[in-house]
């Protein structure tokens, strides 16, 4: 089992969710995050004081999937998230050791 962690533009999240739903992946976790990679940000100016806005808000999407589905899902997310501009984001894949469905106590791949 693998966790796919995608940090994407917040305005792309709806498209990504719809695309995942089309291929029958409905579970996901969203977090509002702030950060930056190579994106430069902008300079805000109030009352003569400059504020460099280099910390940029994005959305982090986390899904845990079977090993065999990793590539399909990564491609689906990337296709929807891509604009071609700086700031499209990154996708990371992690190994997941164990999974449990809390309601039933099921463990392993059937808990996904």
């Amino acid at each position: 089992m693998k966790k796919i962690e995608a940090i994407v533009r917040s305005e792309k999240v709806s498209d990504i969710r719809n695309a995942l739903e089309k291929i029958n992946y409905t579970g996901l976790t969203l977090t509002q995050v702030d950060g930056h990679g190579n994106q430069k940000g902008t300079i805000q100016k109030w009352k003569g004081v400059e504020h460099k806005i280099t910390i940029i808000p994005k959305t982090k999407i986390e899904v845990v999937v079977d090993d065999g589905d990793v590539e399909k899902i990564v491609e689906t997310i990337a296709d929807e998230a891509r604009t071609g501009e700086l700031g499209d984001g990154k996708i990371f894949v992690y190994a997941v050791e164990a999974v449990m469905r809390i309601r039933t106590g099921q463990k392993g791949a059937c808990a996904l």
């Binding site: 805000q44 100016k45 109030w46 009352k47 003569g48 004081v49 400059e50 504020h51 460099k52």
Partner: protein, 439 residues
């Protein structure tokens, strides 16, 4: 359910028992004008609302960890100065003694009854005048908060405020507005408090900002407003309340009130627009924060002039105040390096000085026969009187604030220590957190 109904019935009975006699109460004078009284009472409520409005105006500008400290400072002023006012503040400010202040003859509102007091307002109960003025006495010290935001100790702040209200606000109020006040007798025109409120608080602001010092890590960690919608909400409440502040200062529902209302609104509008245009030119984009700041500056500037100038001068006053305040805030402050955190000096002092001078330029007896003519209406002497009033205000406020600051600093220490400043005032001064992390 049952208990609640019983409570309701009891409440009505008790209310009826006590309200009955009061309804036939203590009205004596035939001269009380119901329109004037209703108007000034409503205006008093409007001005009261400006203090919480200011709390949000300032509160949105500070870092998240300090919002409660701003709200707290404003609300505690509302509590403590209200008491100070009815006990002795009103007496010191308005009792008709010539000299430093009015004395204690009206301690605890002794002699301040429900009949009109002709020297101040002949058509409304004396207590209405008193409570209306009380709201001014409350908001003036609250304006200073902007200068020392995010670093003042609460205990010191409380003592400083009470002393400042008693020894700086009350005397100055007395000189400008009371019977026997020497600036009033000299002919200084200050309709609703350009000098008494704004220049006064603004000078206190720059003095305290210089004495308390800059916030830590200001250059590496430029603080941004944590909640601009609060700032805008606060601005809206201030603009609304300012109708009471200025139009209520006519002390009657009359033509002067109408004039004050119209020019107040127009000056605010012109100033908001002006600041937006300035930002557009200088920074490339107009901002919400800029329009809000501009509008407040406009309201400050029109305050001394509201009952004396007409609408075209009001537009000029508004357009220009943003130029002066914008310059003070974005050019002067960075250059000179003082940390007037929320621009209490840059907006209230600079705006108030311009307003007082503008009154000396644009005042017209055609608007208000009880006022005077200004420079542009053939009377240069008024401008001189206005300048004297401004200079006196600046000197008195500066010296008074300095002395009080030093005294309180020795007794309690004004500034929090570095660790407390980093953690934030909400947690360190009030052991309180505004926004919970967990449910």
């Amino acid at each position: 359910m049952n208990g609640f109904k019983v409570f309701l019935v009891m409440a009505f009975v008790i209310f009826g028992v006590f309200a009955g006699p009061c309804a036939f109460g203590q009205e004596t004078a035939l001269k009380i004008d119901t329109g004037d009284t209703a108007w000034v009472l409503i205006c008093s409520a409007l001005v009261m609302l400006m203090t919480p409005g200011l709390a949000f105006f300032y509160g949105g500008m500070v870092r998240k960890k300090n919002i409660l400290s701003i709200l707290m400072q404003c609300f505690i002023i509302l509590c403590v100065i209200s008491i100070q006012w009815v006990l002795f503040g009103y007496s010191l400010s308005f009792a008709p003694l010539k000299g430093f202040w009015g004395g204690f003859s009206w301690f605890g509102l002794n002699g301040v009854g429900l009949a009109p007091y002709a020297d101040y307002s002949s058509t409304i109960p004396h207590q209405v005048f008193m409570i209306f003025q009380g709201m001014f006495a409350i908001i003036t010290p609250a304006l200073i908060i902007g200068a020392f935001a995010e670093r003042m100790k609460f205990s010191a702040f409380l003592l400083f405020t009470v002393l400042w209200a008693t020894f700086v606000y009350d005397p100055l109020c007395h000189w400008v507005w009371a019977m026997g006040g020497w600036l009033r007798n000299m002919g200084a025109l200050d309709f609703a408090g350009g000098t008494v409120v704004h220049v006064n608080a603004g000078i206190a602001a720059i003095v305290t900002a210089l004495l308390i010092g800059r916030r830590k890590n200001l250059d590496s960690n430029v603080p941004a407003p944590h909640n601009l919608p609060f700032v805008v909400l606060g601005t809206a409440l201030l603009w609304f309340g300012w109708f009471g502040f200025n139009a209520g200062s006519s002390l009657g529902a009359n033509g002067i009130a109408a004039n004050a209302f119209v020019v107040t609104h127009t000056a605010a509008a012109a100033a908001g627009l002006s600041w937006a245009l300035l930002e557009w030119l200088r920074n490339g984009k107009p901002t919400m924060f800029g329009v809000a700041s501009g509008a407040v500056a406009g309201l400050v500037a029109i305050t001394p002039a509201a009952g004396f100038v007409s609408v075209i001068p009001a537009i000029v006053i508004g357009l220009l105040v943003s130029v002066f305040c914008f310059t003070a805030v974005s050019v002067l402050k960075p250059k000179l390096g003082y940390d007037d955190s929320l621009d209490a000096f840059g907006v209230h002092c600079v705006g108030g000085i311009w307003g007082a001078i503008a009154t000396g330029l644009f005042a017209s007896k055609a608007v208000n026969p009880l006022g005077a003519d200004g420079l542009f209406f053939g009377n240069p002497k008024q401008l001189l009187i206005q300048l004297i009033a401004v200079v006196v205000t600046i000197l008195f406020s500066a010296v008074g604030t300095l002395v009080i600051y030093k005294v309180v600093d020795i007794l309690l220490g004004m500034r929090v220590n570095e660790k407390e400043e980093l953690i934030g005032l909400d947690l360190t001064q009030h052991r309180e957190r505004a926004y919970t992390v967990l449910e």
